[in-house]
Symmetry: C2
Subunit: 460 residues, 2 copies
């Protein structure tokens, strides 16, 4: 029942925004803007002191709304939250995003008590609640931005669901995603996790057809076992990438050592997360980059990597990174070597890592090399590195060959260029399942994430 | 003498481009475009088959140019290089950029021999040569793009000199720099290092008033001692960041192990580079990010870091990264703690890492917190994390306070936002010496680079 209400939460047909206002100093202002800019269904601003808000008719209280809204977004003082939720529940609303803070996270006496009362109320109705104490959530696919950040809806529609225990982390990753063209299905700030926590989201996302990979930013949860168990159930269907914060103890004591003592807690979390089926990310860039690769590519079953680069320097850095992360450079078959000797000139490195430098201006030859390498039975995965050089009308990325190669073997690409020049190529590659990154290091590490997932799957 | 000619190379008043053409399939086409788009002095295209190139009068050979050009850029078949250089030397030209490849790097019989002959020729005249086998160089400050990549000149003018053994790496870092607004004084592809190698560039840059930090991408040199010795001379004046590629042996042998064997060579290089005064970067992103911090900020003398964040999640990730890289969280004085308790509300973490979340909408209070922390005698360095949230007209970055704090203690910042929204803030901060990064991890690591440099200096 709660899961069904979670489905409604992400796919509402009508939405009430309680605390909606035109006063830009209030969260309710940004919340109503977010909804108006994203949502095609019926919107009901609730505010007892206004007749209209941004041209929409406003209602003084939940009872005065002419229908039962599927979803209620609350951005009002915390002391009004309980009664307001109760009124909506009495009317039949079963999905809530509670932005308001000041519950159990706060150093105030009745925060925990209020949390418990609210939890009992919503659980008794099987309602699903995101929050309280959250920016909210956005579902790019169904078209609802139930958050206080209108810009969240500028993010590209995609296949990654980002579930975060920190709103700030989402607000860092969203601009990162905007700049790198990374797409999401959903972005969810769990906040205080009143009754929708990691386990509920994992269970829901397992069946969400718009989500191909799940990225979790975890600070710490009360019942890690529940979360781990759900990861175990989900990861065989969809890859789960997890980043655990709180690596070191930061207790506010003078006893902190010079070197920082690694919190046993972190190690236990990470080894359990791996054990239960999560791919581990160590940085925010990795979290989002791995989720991207895992949403676009198949798992990698084998360690033998071919590196193909427009220039030798990139091949060197990519090869270094392969070996650093525990992948290894493929040894080409004699047949591959012979074919590379036939079509590449002597100036060029005609082995792994392959250097396309002196045929760079012939995209057909470059493409042929990429496909020859992809056909090599001793190659498990591929990293292609292309950089802009000379000028746009001189160099051409052999996009079709890269796409063909990615159809044969898991492949990631580092393609970097001055703004605009190859945007269309990048979009074409990504629409056809080739994840593109800005540096060879993160392209290789993302291929390693595909390998980590492959290893997890082959344990079964 | 050669150094004086290197000065001319970077500051020419007249430039010949040999091999200039309008045929976009030729490097000489892109080289002449690069010069025309960057250079305000006299330009002499040299091409025996054309009267004009892009509207400029063309000359059939070096002798027909009406004056002695300060710099000659060569993009012609390799078999014509020697004679052409000789003709320019006979006329008095003492600075060359030789783009043409096919010398000692190539698997062709006389490559090494031609290299030696050419070297003897230019050395006998004390001429300075960048290349052969290079994209060339660009000096953003003097205004000359002597390369086959016109886009290099789009990069922001700045204080970093990037000296690279790989052209491809420059062509990766340039788009990265374009997207992140990182500025350079010079970008140089050393190519085959005929007679301008790392030592010559280091010696030259030590006295280059436009350069505040030096970034080296090193694959491997014949005489590492010379390079190391120059680093030792230079680093006390200017920070040097080095990335060494070729971490692992990539010998084309079936004996490669599963895990990759670390090349002793790499370890020796890196420990020698450190010993002689370089700050070490392990990735391309680090190379450019560290060079940026070191060009803008003072060295950090102490490990005690204060983390101040708009949201707790970023503070957590930044604190984790501090301890991971060997920095430690500062223990504030009682005075600082008392002041933070006075001005921050109870919802907030009023200790290190400091959480500004609930005063985010009051830039004056946020700024006051930043300055209080900067005044704490137990704080050696600061990381400030700001993310966009709510909307642009709600949140305001307390730029003046961050700039004030950076005047008191070495400081780096992670500030991320949807495109455009805070561009002006970022520019203001960076113009005032605050290096801004896209993630808390790289902001902290860049602060660590300031610490590495501080340690190097205090050895003396």
């Amino acid at each position: 029942m709660k899961l069904e209400n979670l489905r409604t939460l992400f796919n509402p047909e009508s939405v009430a925004v309680v605390g909606a206002t035109e006063n830009q100093k209030k969260m309710g202002c940004h919340a109503i803007i977010s909804v108006m800019e994203s949502f095609k269904g019926k919107i009901y601003p609730v505010n007892p002191t206004r007749d209209q808000i941004f041209g929409l008719k406003a209602y003084p209280d939940p009872d005065s709304i002419p229908e039962t809204p599927d979803l209620a977004i609350l951005a009002i003082p915390r002391d009004h939250i309980y009664d307001t939720v109760r009124k909506f529940i009495d009317r039949g609303t079963r999905a809530f995003v509670i932005i308001t803070a000041g519950f159990r996270e706060a150093e105030i006496s009745d925060g925990q008590e209020l949390h418990e009362r609210l939890k009992n109320l919503v659980e008794s109705a099987n309602a699903a609640v995101i929050g309280p104490n959250t920016f909210g959530m956005t579902d790019l696919r169904s078209g609802i931005n139930a958050s206080f950040t209108p810009a969240l809806f500028q993010v590209k529609k995609g296949d990654i669901a980002l579930i975060s225990q920190s709103g700030g982390i989402c607000h860092l990753l969203v601009p990162y995603a905007l700049r790198h063209g990374i797409g999401f299905s959903k972005i969810v700030g769990l906040g205080n996790r009143l009754n929708v926590d990691f386990p509920e989201m994992l269970e829901y996302l397992a069946h969400d057809e718009n989500t191909k990979s799940i990225a979790l930013y975890i600070e710490g949860v009360e019942n890690p076992k529940d979360m781990l168990q759900k990861i175990r159930e989900v990861y065989v269907k969809k890859p789960v990438v997890a980043m655990k914060a709180g690596r070191f103890e930061k207790a506010d004591k003078a006893s902190r050592s010079h070197t920082g003592s690694m919190a046993g807690n972190y190690r236990i979390y990470v080894s359990a997360l791996k054990q239960y089926g999560a791919v581990i990310a160590e940085t925010l860039e990795e979290l989002i980059s791995y989720a991207k690769a895992l949403s676009m590519q198949r798992p990698l079953h084998g360690d033998r990597i071919a590196v193909i680069s427009l220039v030798a320097g990139l091949g060197m850095v990519a090869s270094d990174t392969c070996e650093l992360v525990g992948l290894r450079m493929a040894e080409f078959t004699e047949k591959t070597k012979e074919r590379l000797y036939e079509i590449l000139p002597p100036y060029t490195i005609r082995d792994n890592p392959v250097d396309l430098g002196f045929v760079a201006n012939d995209p057909d030859v470059c493409g042929e090399v990429i496909e020859i390498v992809a056909d090599d039975e001793r190659v498990d995965g591929i990293v292609v590195n292309y950089i802009y050089s000379w000028s746009g009308n001189f160099l051409e990325v052999p996009a079709d060959s890269i796409i063909n190669a990615a159809g044969k073997k898991p492949l990631t690409a580092c393609i970097n260029y001055p703004p605009d020049i190859w945007d269309e190529v990048k979009i074409k590659l990504e629409e056809n399942g080739v994840p593109v990154y800005a540096t060879p290091e993160i392209a290789v590490r993302s291929l390693k994430a595909l390998r980590d997932y492959g290893k997890l799957l082959s344990r079964e």
